[in-house]
């Protein structure tokens, strides 16, 4: 694990008004989030992709896939926190790269009041071009899904250039990097 890169990523996320924590194991993920937000099971939604990725992880919250499809949007809009995975982190800009995924709809990073990304330390790239190339190459030509780059919470400077965080999207944004080598 390249520590310099991780440090840069962390400081960039902070610059953008987000937070970034390192978890030594997948077990630590939940305690980090719980401690941060102290939310109940029904207030937190996590993607089915997380379940696929970590078999040893328990997150206080509800698996989005367990909610019937026609109710999902309303539940997401009412949730206090949405937790997703990602497909890359960019150190230079403090960005999380999310590729559209069947078990992780884009609304989950968009509608809940807060958004937390869980990433693995080997998903960290110095710059966007490296990450984008990797993603592009892992899909057959013409089959690349939509991609969203997220850097910090939703924000505006439209009123006298003063920064206001939390306009139409998440009010808070955090990243938990799982660094198993830690």
């Amino acid at each position: 694990m390249n520590n310099e890169l991780l440090d840069l990523f962390q400081s960039r996320v902070n610059d953008m008004g987000g937070w970034c924590a390192i978890a030594g194991s997948s077990k630590e993920i939940n305690s980090i989030i719980e401690e941060k937000y102290k939310l109940g099971e029904e207030e937190v939604l996590y993607s089915g992709r997380i379940v696929e990725q970590f078999n040893d992880l328990t997150v206080t919250g509800t698996d989005l896939t367990n909610i019937s499809p026609d109710k999902r949007r309303d539940v997401m809009a009412g949730a206090k926190l949405g937790i997703t995975m990602c497909d890359g982190l960019i150190a230079e800009t403090g960005t999380a790269v999310l590729v559209n995924h069947i078990a992780e709809p884009r609304e989950l990073s968009l509608l809940p009041e807060r958004h937390v990304v869980i990433a693995l330390s080997d998903q960290l790239y110095p710059t966007l071009d490296k990450c984008l190339e990797k993603i592009k190459n892992s899909y057959p030509a013409g089959k690349l899904p939509s991609i969203t780059l997220i850097s910090g919470p939703s924000r505006t400077s439209d009123i006298e250039k003063s920064l206001v965080v939390g306009v139409h999207g998440p009010v808070e944004f955090g990243v938990v990097v799982v660094d198993r080598g830690k």
Binding site: N100, P145, V164, G166, V167, H168
Partner: protein, 462 residues
């Protein structure tokens, strides 16, 4: 304020004397410039990146026909419905038809300068379709019934007190000029609209020819909401928004947010690769791309004017322009204000109507220096001045005056004579000698009792 570029002079005069307005603009543009300088300063290879950006944009504009075909093909392969609109009218008709078929009466919309060019909202509203602007700045402007005064900061001319009064009156809320509270009000109102919306309209920042990717850059998440939640998404773009490849995106994402708002990256970048499908599990079921030509193909063939199509609409040239800073965006009476506006309004829209704009510049060149894709903006103004003169759009008296000037300058004796006449007049009339356009604002400089040339004569060569 009269919204025509032909009224620039009087609009500008009014704006310049509005101290309040000038302060607001100066503060806003100044903030952006400071932030930009910081993040640009972090990149030692900034100049090379600008050149690269220039070259990639040039590549597209030089081969625009081919890139339109390629992009159309890939976007269709990705399941998007691509419409080509030759004129502004064609584009609005296409957009209206798409919406009409859905039988909705409300659409949510994120920021797009092309829709400003189309006067889309007005057209849709007369046809009974309510358009909800969702970018906070655009929302403010829409409530006020105005047009944007800056391409990336549409409500830059409004103070928080202006906005507080506007919200109080139009949204029926208690007066507050706290930006946090005002933003929260907008969030709450618009959230409902987003969740109910069935049609979303957005602009496009970059359209990648090789993958058909529509890239949309923003901070508020309103464009994401407009393009993810509804069943149908209409992306409106002009043909010059194409870039060769998705591999060029990292470059332009380095150039644009830094130049526009002094951010290393905006909060969100959406790269839309088609409607909902097996490979793309959520999002709208239909994605329409409306591609406007609107005179751009023609412009792309002009050896000089074509460069203005390289523009990536960052707005930095406005922030840095001392003329823009003095008069604001509305004075231009055009969709695009500031240096790039002064360059494209005559060539893309109406040269006669916009004939004052290229002259409303001291040609200081600050715009050219800041442009992330190295458009030679101030030299373009100079070229357009020529064209405007050649087409006879300037007053005849000016032409005469120039001929007289030339006649004096072709002979040292005549030139000296002119100077001496001036000196005599100044002696007689003193400080009262009026110099139109100069003395009302400034003290006239004193004409020397002896010119340099006459001093040299007395001195018998050097």
């Amino acid at each position: 304020m009269n919204l025509s570029p032909s009224e620039f002079k009087s609009n500008a005069r009014r704006a310049v004397h509005d101290q309040h307005l000038r302060e607001k603009i100066k503060k806003a543009t100044g903030t952006s410039l400071v932030k930009r300088a910081e993040v640009v300063g972090e990149i030692p290879e900034w100049e090379e990146l600008r050149q690269e950006g220039h070259d990639r944009r040039k590549e597209v504009i030089d081969n625009l026909d081919r890139y339109i075909r390629t992009f159309t093909g890939t976007a269709r392969d990705r399941g998007m419905i691509v419409h080509y609109a030759g004129t502004h009218d064609d584009a609005t008709k296409i957009i209206y038809d798409i919406i009409r078929r859905t039988s909705v009466d409300t659409v949510v919309k994120s920021k797009s300068m092309i829709t400003e060019e189309l006067h889309l909202n007005a057209m849709l509203e007369t046809n009974g379709i309510r358009v909800i602007e969702t970018d906070l700045g655009e929302y403010i402007i829409q409530l006020a019934g105005e047009t944007p005064s800056h391409i990336t900061a549409p409500a830059l001319h409004k103070s928080k007190e202006d906005i507080a009064r506007l919200f109080q009156e139009k949204l029926n809320i208690p007066y507050t000029d706290d930006p946090v509270k005002l933003t929260a009000v907008a969030r709450e109102r618009l959230r409902k609209e987003f969740l109910n919306a069935r049609v979303g309209i957005s602009g496009v920042n970059f359209a990648c020819a090789d993958t058909g990717t529509l890239t949309i850059i923003e901070n508020e998440a309103n464009a994401r909401l407009c393009t993810v939640l509804p069943d149908l998404h209409i992306a409106v773009m002009s043909i010059d928004k194409i870039i060769p490849s998705i591999d060029d995106l990292p470059l332009f994402l380095k150039l644009l947010p830094r130049s526009a708002s002094g951010q290393r990256m905006t909060s969100y970048v959406s790269m839309i690769n088609g409607p909902r499908s097996h490979h793309n599990p959520d999002g709208p079921r239909q994605v329409h791309v409306v591609m406007l030509n609107g005179g751009r193909l023609q412009l792309a063939k002009h050896p000089a004017w074509k460069e203005s199509l390289y523009c990536i609409r960052c707005g930095a040239c406005m922030n840095v322009c001392p003329v823009y800073q003095s008069v604001g965006g509305h004075a231009y009476g055009a969709v695009y204000p500031g240096p790039i506006g002064a360059v494209v309004t005559p060539t893309l829209f109406d040269m006669k109507e916009a004939r004052e704009l290229p002259f409303a510049s001291s040609l200081c060149g600050a715009c050219t220096d800041i442009c992330p894709v190295k458009i030679d903006l101030h030299h373009h103004l100079l070229l357009e001045r020529r064209e405007i003169v050649d087409r006879g759009y300037k007053p005849f008296t000016e032409k005469i005056a120039m001929s007289v000037w030339r006649w004096f300058m072709l002979s040292p004796a005549r030139f000296e004579l002119a100077g001496r006449i001036g000196w005599v007049l100044q002696k007689i009339l003193g400080k009262k000698l009026p110099l139109p356009g100069w003395t009302p604002q400034r003290q006239a400089p004193a004409i020397a009792a002896k010119s340099f040339r006459s001093l040299m004569k007395g001195d018998s060569k050097k």
